[in-house]
């Protein structure tokens, strides 16, 4: 088992400047069919697609709010609720599946007392499935924010994940 940092973008905390939305709108407004790209920017800025952001963004992009909701709910990548500070992603690709991903998920669900797709009440941990992060040679793979836990045994997963806990600042 090994744990390493990757370049995967981590969800940034809130507290971004108020004009972030207009900047996103300005960037994409005049490009044909760019709603999904604009929503990627929103999710990168806020960590998810907050309702109030969607309401502000829609008129600025010139699309109905329903279009945004339609797209966000169709694609797995977009989230409608704020994830916890630590996002645990269990890779559910076929290689990981054969090498114990279901048991890994079970153990994490039991430890944190949440189902996949849920966040702990203290908002510290969020557990989710991911389709395949394309590192099948290192299966089974679990990521915690930008850190990757590779070739992990189900029995070790809880220790490996909790070791990556970072205390809240302040």
């Amino acid at each position: 088992m090994s744990t390493t940092e990757t370049k995967a973008p981590a969800a940034k905390p809130a507290g971004t400047p108020p004009d972030a939305i207009s900047l996103i709108a300005k960037r994409w407004k005049n490009k044909r069919g760019s709603l999904i790209m604009a929503l990627h920017d929103v999710q990168e800025t806020f960590g998810y697609v907050p309702r109030e952001v969607a309401l502000k963004l829609a008129p600025q992009l010139g699309v109905p709010v329903a279009r945004i909701y339609e797209v966000v709910t169709f694609y797995n990548y977009f989230k409608l609720e704020a994830p916890g500070r630590h996002v645990i992603s269990v890779c559910m690709g076929t290689a990981c599946y054969l090498k114990g991903a279901p048991e890994i998920k079970e153990r994490l669900m039991a430890h944190f007392g949440i189902k996949s797709g849920e966040t702990t009440p203290d908002k510290e941990w969020h557990l989710q499935d991911v389709r395949c992060i394309g590192c099948c040679g290192l299966a089974p793979v679990v990521t915690v924010n930008s850190k990757i836990i590779a070739k992990v045994k189900p029995a070790d997963i809880v220790t490996a994940v909790t070791a990556l806990y970072t205390p809240k600042e302040g």
Partner: protein
């Protein structure tokens, strides 16, 4: 930066590379995930601290994923040495013992008995002698060899020579003719002849035309496209420019999975470098041809690998497919003629133009020419990427290159992911061609190859894939939406030991309806894993029928 002319390109290509001791570190997603950046940093620090005249460089993925992080040491006049599973401490040890002390660190050396290793680095684009390595690299020829973020290194390996040919001596007719001779077929899985797609789009009537690179690699358990985009982005970009030139497009779009941040970053960089050097933008290489590329990100929808769904997604909508015809080559993005090619298909184009269609056609067998890249994963000993000539048998891939099962015996191999089928061990001598795999009830697919050992249950894996397809069904057409869910219910009943013969018959009936009536390939192929498991492992299904028994009781 000055825009290059065709002559400048040749000068840059001929610029001799300084021959000195080089240490190459595989820095693609898998390598980085395994800790390659730590090894890379340690090597750099150690070389600097000792004042050694050694270049420590980044390369893409060589394909030996189970042995990452990989470090290759090339000392002029000596055979190159490959080290695997290198930590930062190991890296320092390599410098001290090998580069300074002159002794190979045997304990870390990758065993060359493994085919993956034999053919991984170096100039592996020559055909192997009989009995030699079974890999042959066209698509991955630069992966693990060049720095993927260096424009000059790509050019030094004949990069952009095909674009130069097209814009100076070539014509769209000449390109399509070479593609026709080559016999290249779509590597996304369906195997449609590439030259026909290009010709149809070229001849279609429209105000503008588009070319799209399909890099929405959705098959869970496959990562060939990610690796090529991370290891040799310029090769795919060159294919896009050639495609744009041939069909008369002004804009090319890379549709890439958002889950692949490094691939996105490297393609972005390649596009910027090409623009700066005059290979994208107005008047490419001083010609009258103008073309540019941009990136659109997927957002996690398997169905977007289907052409019409992908187009909807690029237009910023839900990715739902629509009936064909009209095909995208006639009416695609913004209702204009649009050509969609897979990453691997595009990575082949420049090589075919440079070396000629006949060269390509001589590789492979029958109507399946050239090579195919597979991501061999699951219960195999050496998981990784392999590129083999078409016609290589599954046995050679799984047993000789992959080293067989890590534990126990190989039970079956699944190609084509959720759209493919399971092929039992007794059929491993089947050659890999579009036709042979189809005859067995599977498909070539995009290149996923999952190895199962005798402890794995085919019923469970079939359930896994079906669940995936049900989850990913866009819900637009009833056969896929309802059929998938019903199949899933019946299969769960069987898996729990509550099913009987009528349930098996029901599975077949629903499967047939889905295959015949679904709107797109997702629904049409979703029953494949279940049907192939039932066909080749009937006893395992029967054992589940009577009463719940251990999974792998075949």
């Amino acid at each position: 930066m000055p825009k290059l002319t065709p002559k400048d390109l040749d000068v840059l290509r001929a610029k001799s590379v300084v021959i000195k001791t080089t240490i190459s570190v595989g820095l693609s997603s898998c390598g980085i995930a395994a800790g390659a950046e730590a090894a890379f940093a340690a090597l750099g620090e150690e070389v600097k601290a000792r004042g050694l005249d050694i270049s420590v460089r980044r390369v893409g993925c060589a394909g030996m994923c189970s042995m990452e992080p990989l470090v290759e040491v090339a000392v002029p006049g000596q055979p190159t040495v490959m080290y695997g599973n290198v930590t930062a401490d190991d890296a320092r040890k390599i410098i001290a013992e090998h580069l300074v002390g002159g002794k190979i660190v045997k304990a870390l050396q990758v065993q060359t008995v493994n085919e993956l290793a034999v053919c991984a680095f170096g100039d592996n684009s020559k055909p192997a002698p009989a009995g030699g390595p079974k890999q042959y690299r066209i698509v991955m020829r630069n992966c693990g060899v060049i720095d993927p973020e260096s424009f000059d290194e790509y050019v030094a390996r004949d990069g952009y020579q095909a674009v130069k040919f097209a814009l100076t001596d070539g014509s769209s007719d000449a390109i399509i003719e070479q593609l026709r001779i080559s016999g290249l077929r779509g590597r996304g899985g369906a195997g449609f002849p590439t030259h026909m797609k290009w010709d149809l789009t070229r001849k279609a009537v429209g105000e503008e035309r588009f070319i799209i690179c399909n890099a929405d690699e959705g098959d869970p358990g496959a990562y060939m496209d990610r690796s090529v985009l991370e290891g040799d982005p310029h090769a795919v970009l060159e294919g896009m420019i050639l495609g744009g030139f041939t069909i008369g497009a002004k804009l090319g779009i890379f549709y890439i999975r958002a889950e692949y941040p490094l691939a996105i970053e490297r393609v972005e960089k390649a596009i910027k470098q090409a623009r700066a050097n005059g290979l994208l933008g107005q008047n490419i290489l001083g010609s009258t041809f103008s073309f540019d590329c941009e990136i659109r990100l997927g957002a996690g929808a398997f169905v977007c690998g289907e052409e019409t769904a992908l187009i909807a997604s690029v237009e910023g909508k839900r990715g739902t497919p629509r009936p064909r015809p009209p095909f995208p080559s006639v009416k695609g993005l913004w209702d204009q003629p649009t050509m969609i090619n897979n990453v691997e298909t595009l990575a082949n184009i420049a090589q075919i133009i440079n070396r000629g269609g006949a060269w390509f056609a001589a590789i492979g067998i029958g109507k399946s020419t050239g090579t195919k890249v597979f991501a061999v994963t699951g219960k195999v000993k050496y998981s990784g990427l392999v590129e083999i000539p078409m016609g290589t048998t599954l046995r050679e891939i799984v047993m000789d290159i992959g080293g067989g099962a890590a534990e126990g015996n190989v039970k079956a191999v699944q190609t084509g992911g959720p759209s493919g089928g399971m092929i039992p061990a007794n059929l491993l001598d089947t050659p890999v061609t579009y036709e042979h795999l189809q005859q067995l009830g599977s498909i070539m697919g995009s290149g996923g190859m999952i190895v199962m050992d005798d402890r794995d249950s085919v019923v469970d894996l079939a359930r896994f894939y079906l669940e995936f397809c049900v989850d990913e069904s866009c819900g637009k057409c009833a056969p896929c939406r309802i059929g998938g869910t019903q199949m899933q219910r019946v299969l769960e009943k069987i898996a729990e030991g509550k099913g009987d013969d009528t349930d098996v018959a029901a599975l077949r009936r629903i499967a047939q309806a889905m295959q015949k009536a679904s709107l797109c390939a997702l629904g049409q192929t979703a029953p494949n894993p279940v049907l192939s498991a039932m066909k080749y492992f009937p006893k395992e299904f029967e054992s589940r029928l009577k009463k719940s028994t251990p999974a792998a009781a075949v």
